[in-house]
Symmetry: C2
Subunit: 519 residues, 2 copies
């Protein structure tokens, strides 16, 4: 496996190739602080360079939401971010927010939904070990959260997009982002689309995304609420007085300062996909892929929490993209290394990606025909070139290293079912079933890297308190966003990161803002 | 999923059903201390009830080995164990120790092996993210470790057992325990058996196992070396002086005492498979299975380490058995929920178990015929009853819920290959290939629980030092065995737990014993 750091433009985003072979790469390590995360006793703080009520590390969607609610609770709030400006990974995202229970957008699109259906779906889709306590408040509070986002200036176009794709085109505000309308979930819970897409008039992939637009509204709202912000300011260590967190040491342009936080510190500093050593330690299967995130996703927020006794949760979990066009995927057969299908291709492509990465070690092929290729190209605007093309499945099997006859059997089973409008093997919906006809194309996806980010992190209560090893809150410490393990407990749906980050960011900020101040 | 605690006799061992649904069960939680693991500052210790140089928590194979070497280094040593006697999970095990590089037993059996071949194999078999630094010293030091075990009184019968089974019968001292002689490893590294089985004359499964015999020798050696031991004494919290660990608080018959450890504390207190809350938090896929271990595997050793700033590693990892007779497995086709094969059935059954659990969510079937059933029953001494029997694969497919034609295709592909002495699909060795003939039996293994234990834990150096979040040793703190993440980094081979526990237990004990004493 390649160990050199690679940069690549993937879908217009600047991505990094992370942790080839799971070993830290010196060039990457340079960006990261190796300084200790061990907390500083308050007695060793000579001088507080700044004082505030609530200090928030990170100005992505979780930090910004926390800052708004902490200020609304009457607290003085300081947000610091290691980057030169706001946004973090949130501003690079597609701007999908997982909301439901009957939002005005859902209603305008004729979609029926309830908090119970939303809860039932997310409990199934985000397990094993779904965060039931968080899911309960998240689903119950989703309508109120929708209203809050609207009050922050966020708009959603009430128009449903139903084609398979990672993101919807401008002008659509709602889409399926978790496989709600596909096997197995569609058979278990009444399906509803819940991916609410932040509206942006001049969306230009690679420049400004809908996630950027979300952040613009949140940061503007925070500014109106009187939140102070410092950029190029990295949080390095927490300051503790006994068991209570009372501030942090920050580094700004090479200088170290202590910031006192009378009511609490909120860690909202992203995940750890940019830290190859942490990936190897906790989530080695995510290594060797493209980072979806920023250099700030170095896990320091998580380690600072651990250093004061916080528990972590599901550190092996991660979201993965799938390395080809969803419009083509839905119309194809996705095969494992032995030439068998293993998942319904019409579910959420992130779920396909997780299955391919975690259950097939990335060893997959896509088999399709000319009709599938043409239809997908027409929708996506680009054609995927197959690795091999042939009329003869036996010949393709040989290229793929698949046992003789297996590929012909796979296609025969699929075609026979498709004729009847059924997929007895993987339960793809009838809409996508059509017997494949020669010539066939096979795309070799073995070892094709996908985009990844981590979803494991600090264990927090639904109120945003960071919990210790025995489950008790650590006084003065709060966290939200990908620094924590949240709604995407293990399984993932697009929109649960911005959804979880904003929702529990608000709760962490509110809880911190209302905490009793230290003297 | 069942949430009630179940007890069952599995292979003669007392096993517990752990963590149904990944939720803690009150009846289990009773056995566990919910007391804080937060360290006690030495300044708060009023009275040291006991003083020693090296305090060791746990008297399983890691703790006992550590005690012997700490004493050999000239230290005064006290071992405490929460149980009423020695042994821990080690004494319940099959007594296999993974050793190689050309041991006298290997040589007497005509087996060629080198430290390099052993390293190459383990690096492949224990990844992703194999513990390369530990593997290097483990393979290099394996011959010396063999000699040390012999000096402790352990004997091995130089006779090779080659039938597929979890354990060898009395009188055999060597077997394959990692799939060394099967695909894919046999194609990549010259295979050698390395599972060295501790000899025991009157081995009676369910009463005394070869693991018990190993422990008997180790404990006797420790006693001769002057090691002190206290049972019914549970280590609850570490005592720290600044960053250094200087002792521990122990609980014995309800009374709390502080024990000073002038040179260091060694945590050798087992894994966390008996702690449902920790399983849910870190390894939810292991929940709902049978615990291989003791009530002492409650993860407290790991949490005590974390509470003083230790890093953890691969907390999602675990070893799993496979829920049926290996002799039958090798002669059968193991199928996924869709009726396809997915692994060569003749590899190490623990590897099959991991693949079935982690990659197939336990949804598997075993398909075999009368010849396979009879041969396996003759070897194992018991017959496995199939769930369904039929001459008609289409009928069986219907029972299994498999798409029409798929099962017939699976068997046709296998039989055609077997006729030629090949397995183009999964690469089972020629020895096990034989076309299957009707009537066929299918054993439904969907949701059949397997035996599990955890292999994630504290991050330690190859010297046995516990490492902090930034990779620096925590002064005065050492660990070994399943409290740590070791040789079974992710993948597993039988014998790597006793091997890793004894080998790195020795190193931890030696390092602790040679440490400078605190005043």
């Amino acid at each position: 496996m390649a160990t050199a750091e690679k940069e690549a433009e993937v879908d217009g985003e600047r991505c990094y190739f992370v942790g080839g072979g799971g070993r830290p790469h010196p060039a990457r390590a340079r960006h990261m602080s190796a300084a200790s995360t061990a907390p500083v006793p308050a007695s060793q703080v000579g001088h507080w360079a700044a004082e505030t009520d609530v200090l928030i590390a990170g100005n992505g969607c979780a930090g910004a939401s926390a800052s708004i609610e902490a200020a609304a609770a009457g607290a003085r709030v300081l947000v610091v971010d290691a980057a030169g400006g706001w946004g973090g990974a949130s501003a690079m995202s597609g701007g999908e927010i997982y909301l439901g229970g009957g939002t005005p957008v859902q209603k305008a699109c004729g979609v029926e939904d309830t908090p119970d259906a939303m809860y039932a779906f997310l409990k199934l889709a985000t397990g094993p070990d779904p965060a039931e306590d968080k899911l309960a408040v998240y689903c119950e509070g989703s309508l109120e959260h929708f209203d809050w986002l609207v009050r922050c200036g966020v708009t959603f176009v009430p128009k449903l997009w139903t084609e398979p794709s990672w993101e919807a085109p401008t002008g659509y505000g709602l889409m399926y982002t978790g496989g709600e309308n596909a096997h197995p979930f569609a058979d278990l819970v009444p399906p509803a689309p819940r991916g609410h897409i932040v509206h942006m008039e001049d969306k230009r992939p690679g420049e400004r995304s809908a996630g950027w637009m979300l952040m613009k509204h949140l940061v503007a709202t925070a500014e109106r609420a009187g939140v102070e912000v410092r950029y190029n300011t990295r949080t390095e260590r927490l300051v503790v007085d006994g068991e209570r967190v009372v501030g942090a040491e920050v580094v700004s342009f090479g200088e170290r300062h202590f910031v006192r936080a009378r009511r609490g510190v909120v860690l909202a500093a992203g995940g750890f996909a940019a830290n190859p050593a942490m990936l190897a330690q906790h989530a080695p299967r995510l290594a060797g892929n493209f980072l979806v995130g920023t250099d700030g996703d170095d896990g320091r927020g998580i380690r600072m929490g651990q250093a004061v006794g916080a528990a972590v949760r599901h550190m092996d979990a991660g979201q993965t993209s799938f390395p080809t066009d969803p419009a083509l995927l839905y119309r194809s057969l996705l095969l494992d290394a032995r030439g068998h299908r293993f998942v319904n291709e019409d579910t959420y492509p992130g779920r396909v990606g997780q299955t391919a990465l975690f259950k097939q070690d990335r060893k997959t092929f896509l088999l399709y025909d000319e009709t599938a290729s043409e239809e997908a190209a027409r929708l996506s605007g680009y054609a995927v070139q197959p690795t091999w093309v042939s009329d003869d499945l036996g010949e393709l099997a040989k290229e793929m290293g698949v046992a003789p006859g297996v590929l012909a059997g796979t296609v025969a089973t699929y075609n026979a079912g498709a004729e009847r409008g059924e997929d007895p093997e993987c339960h793809k919906a009838a809409r996508w079933l059509r017997p494949l006809a020669p010539p066939y194309g096979v795309l070799d996806l073995r070892d094709a890297p996908c985009g990844v980010f981590t979803t494991g992190g600090l264990h927090t209560s639904p109120r945003g308190e960071v919990l210790g090893l025995e489950g008790d809150p650590i006084p003065g410490l709060f966290a939200a966003g990908r620094t924590t393990s949240g709604i995407p407990s293990w399984g993932y749906c697009s929109g649960t990161s911005l959804g979880d980050g904003t929702f529990f960011g608000r709760r962490a900020g509110r809880r911190a803002g209302r905490s009793a101040a230290t003297a």
